[in-house]
């Protein structure tokens, strides 16, 4: 339909794919009602998808190249833009890699603070994913609930860092500021609230017969298939693979907090949704442990001595609580960061972000800007599953599978 009688123009760089008879091409995107900007080209035969082609590069923003022209510090806010809902997790490996080059190890307190924010981010990000999942399946109540409850964790992050989403919290050698006095009780309250809410989520969404029939047995990724495709994060764990960077190569304070890695064997969309529920529960427990530790230990050093000693004396008085400045302990950014030069070398770091493992390779030639930053994000590794998992399903399953992978377009294309 449509092409009959009209001539196919050939433009430079344009590829023309002749379609078989009865094959219909549908473009999902570029502006999708349920998600950000992305494009998936789907060929359907009747109502069944026969070919699914996620258009990688469609919203590419040259982030790696941009980073080569910015100061070391200014790259943190840049990489945050990749997944602002998960800002701490996606920038942490960059900071860790640069720390390796600088040869500084952040103080214990900073490690716990980073762990705390990472888990707050993880919960908020999973809730965001649930909200989007709800929209995809036409379930407006889950959408509203998840986004409403995410606000709790966004506010927690704001109390800790001063910013709702783009925190720029981990800095080289530490974090940007210490936590307020009453933060612990807020975290415990939020955790208790969220545990109660998760049961209600299960009632209205995951145990709802309507939703279960949409998700059960849909988009099944077997264990070997998940490994073969190189999936990452909760999606690979929902297929029964026990792999988590927090477990495989503990960073920050993860080797000192007590948590489990939940595993589901089924590998279908429902298992991926339950996987996230269980991960939220673990994250809440980690948050509470981190806050307990932070409250028990004295406030000494949220940033490495190497940087702290260059701070003006007034900063030290503010941090000691002697001088109130915009509230207690709120130290400004240490000026040394602005003119930081990183010794030449190569380094590599990885963390477990909410969407999967994220890895950074950082190369420095001793200047005030990086020579090269290369990064691979969780969504980028997960998106390829669409090409192999979706064909054979009906077009209506596309949103169900898409949502269950909790896939985040701006993180896919950087």
């Amino acid at each position: 339909m449509g092409t009959e009688g009209s001539q196919v123009q050939s433009l430079p760089g344009m590829q023309v794919h002749p379609l078989k008879k009865n094959l219909y091409e549908v473009a999902i995107g570029p502006a999708h009602p349920g998600s950000g900007h992305m494009r998936i080209l789907v060929r359907v035969e009747g109502d069944v998808m026969v070919e699914v082609d996620p258009d990688i590069g469609f919203v590419h923003r040259t982030m790696e190249k941009l980073s080569e022209g910015r100061d070391w510090m200014k790259n943190i806010p840049l990489f945050e833009r990749m997944a602002i809902l998960d800002a701490c997790n996606v920038t942490l490996p960059y900071v860790e890699a640069v720390e390796k080059l600088l040869d500084v190890d952040p103080p214990e307190r900073a490690k716990y603070l980073r762990t705390l924010l990472c888990e707050i981010n993880r919960v908020a990000s999973h809730l965001y994913g649930f909200g989007i999942f709800g929209v995809f399946l036409g379930h407006s109540t889950l959408y509203m609930w998840a986004f409403g409850d995410r606000e709790v964790f966004v506010e927690l992050a704001e109390r800790l860092t001063g910013a709702r989403l783009t925190h720029t919290y981990p800095m080289f050698g530490g974090v940007r500021r210490d936590m307020p006095d009453d933060f612990g009780q807020h975290v415990r309250k939020a955790a208790a609230y969220m545990r109660r809410r998760l049961d209600e989520y299960a009632k209205i969404f995951l145990l709802n017969p309507n939703i279960r029939s949409r998700l059960e047995g849909v988009g099944v990724v077997s264990k070997s298939r998940a490994v073969e495709l190189g999936l990452a994060g909760p999606n690979v764990r929902a297929s029964g693979v026990r792999y988590d960077v927090r477990l495989a190569e503990p960073y920050e304070a993860y080797d000192r907090v007590d948590f489990e890695i939940p595993i589901y064997e089924e590998g279908d969309s429902l298992a991926r949704a339950w996987q996230r529920v269980e991960e939220i529960k673990q994250s809440l427990s980690i948050m509470e442990q981190a806050v307990d530790w932070l409250e028990k230990h004295p406030r000494e050093g949220f940033v490495h001595e190497k940087f702290w000693k260059t701070a003006p004396p007034i900063y030290k008085k503010v941090y000691a609580g002697e001088v109130p400045y915009a509230g207690k302990y709120r130290v400004k950014m240490i000026p040394l960061y602005a003119s930081l030069k990183v010794p030449a070398g190569r380094s590599f770091a990885r963390t477990e972000s909410a969407h999967g493992e994220i890895t950074y390779y950082v190369e420095s030639d001793g200047k005030d800007v990086p020579y090269r930053v290369r990064l691979v994000s969780g969504s980028y590794r997960n998106v390829i599953a669409f090409k192999y998992v979706m064909p054979g399903h009906r077009l209506a399953d596309l949103p169900a599978i898409y949502g269950s992978f909790d896939y985040f377009p701006p993180e896919w294309d950087r």
Partner: protein, 360 residues
């Protein structure tokens, strides 16, 4: 010599023979277009408010908070009516415009086959076969949704239109079967008799709940309500058959589906909820026509409200699942409902209620 016609007589004539002429009155005022519009505003308000309560938010609140933002709906309506209507160059213009209008008119038409009182002076048509006629007229409008989809010349529209056609074939059958089970039980197609038989308070919805259930689900389905909002599923195919429509034309498209649901609700109120049942229509226009019609409308409104509340509970089914529910579960259930109807007729459940006396 010709009698002089006074302005009073002209005015009276217009009122008596045009506006309050039952076929016109039922088509345009109650329970037709104007009542449907008022109900639409109320139901949308209710839907937003009830869903907001479930979803822990406020719902419309900005304009006149004291009424719960009810006037905001009117503002929305005005905005919709004055939006620019964009007509794509590739559409088949005649059908593109004619189909929504025809769909709205044909959706309203079954209302003229429904009695809202016992007084024959206020019946739009003779009521002997009114149930059959009402159910038959209801099956007319879906073809225009497919016409819209085809005339739009858009991939999403065509996919939506095909989905609509699948669903309509599966669910119109269920709706017709379950609504006709009342004819089996009471041995009549006359809606007035059917309502009168329920005047004891023993509603048909209580005697044959299976028929009520299947009719309810089939109505949800044919009017694409949750959890069967499949032909215009937003996250898959934009707005389905209505993708290329804008402004008032889009309003007509939505209105047709919505009016269809309203008409189904009115018919269900008559068949299953006893129509004007506890009330006995008195003499005159107000007591004999207006009051019973309002009672029927309120009952239909309750059905509509329950249907719109389901939006807050369910997501949407996949089309093959919905069709499976239709053909594998609901058709047998509807047949069983007819069986219950025949059994009731065999044991003369309604005989002692004076159906026979009224029919004779």
């Amino acid at each position: 010599m010709v009698d002089m016609v006074t302005p009073y007589e002209i005015g009276h004539g217009i009122l008596r023979y045009i506006i309050f002429y039952p076929p016109v009155y039922q088509f345009v005022i109650i329970p037709g277009l104007i009542a449907a519009l008022v109900v639409a505003i109320f139901i949308i308000w209710f839907e937003r408010k009830a869903a907001a309560r479930v979803q822990m938010r406020y719902g419309p609140y900005e304009i006149s908070p004291r009424t719960g933002g009810a006037t905001q709906l009117i503002a929305d309506l005005i905005r919709y009516s004055f939006q620019e209507i964009i007509v794509p160059r590739t559409v088949d213009a005649v059908i593109y415009f004619a189909a929504p209008v025809a769909a709205v008119i044909l959706s309203l038409l079954p209302l003229d086959a429904m009695p809202l009182t016992t007084n024959p002076a206020f019946w739009p048509i003779p009521m002997d076969y009114s149930l059959l006629l009402a159910v038959a007229l209801m099956t007319l409008s879906p073809i225009f949704v497919m016409a819209m989809a085809w005339a739009s010349n858009n991939k999403f529209s065509v996919i939506g239109g095909v989905r609509e056609s699948f669903i309509v074939t599966a669910y119109e059958l269920v709706a017709v079967l379950s609504m006709l089970s009342v004819a089996a039980a009471m041995s009549t197609y006359n809606l007035v008799d059917i309502v009168q038989a329920q005047s004891s308070g023993l509603w048909f919805g209580l005697l044959d709940p299976l028929a009520f259930l299947t009719a309810f689900i089939a109505t949800l389905m044919t009017t694409s309500g949750f959890p069967f909002e499949i032909p215009d599923s937003e996250s898959e195919i934009v707005a389905g058959p209505y993708t290329e429509y804008t402004g008032l034309m889009y309003g007509l498209d939505m209105g047709a589906a919505y009016i269809k649901r309203w008409v189904f609700s009115v018919l269900m109120a008559l068949i299953f909820l006893g129509g004007w049942a506890p009330y006995v229509p008195g003499p005159g226009f107000v007591l004999g026509y207006l009051v019973p019609s309002l009672i029927v409308s309120v009952k239909a409104l309750v059905i509509m409200a329950i249907m719109s509340f389901l939006r807050a509970v369910y997501g949407r089914y996949r089309i093959d699942q919905a069709l499976g529910i239709g053909w594998e579960i609901l058709v047998p259930l509807a047949l069983a409902a007819i069986g219950i109807g025949f059994a009731e007729a065999y044991f003369h459940v309604y005989a002692y209620m004076g159906v026979m006396a009224l029919a004779s």
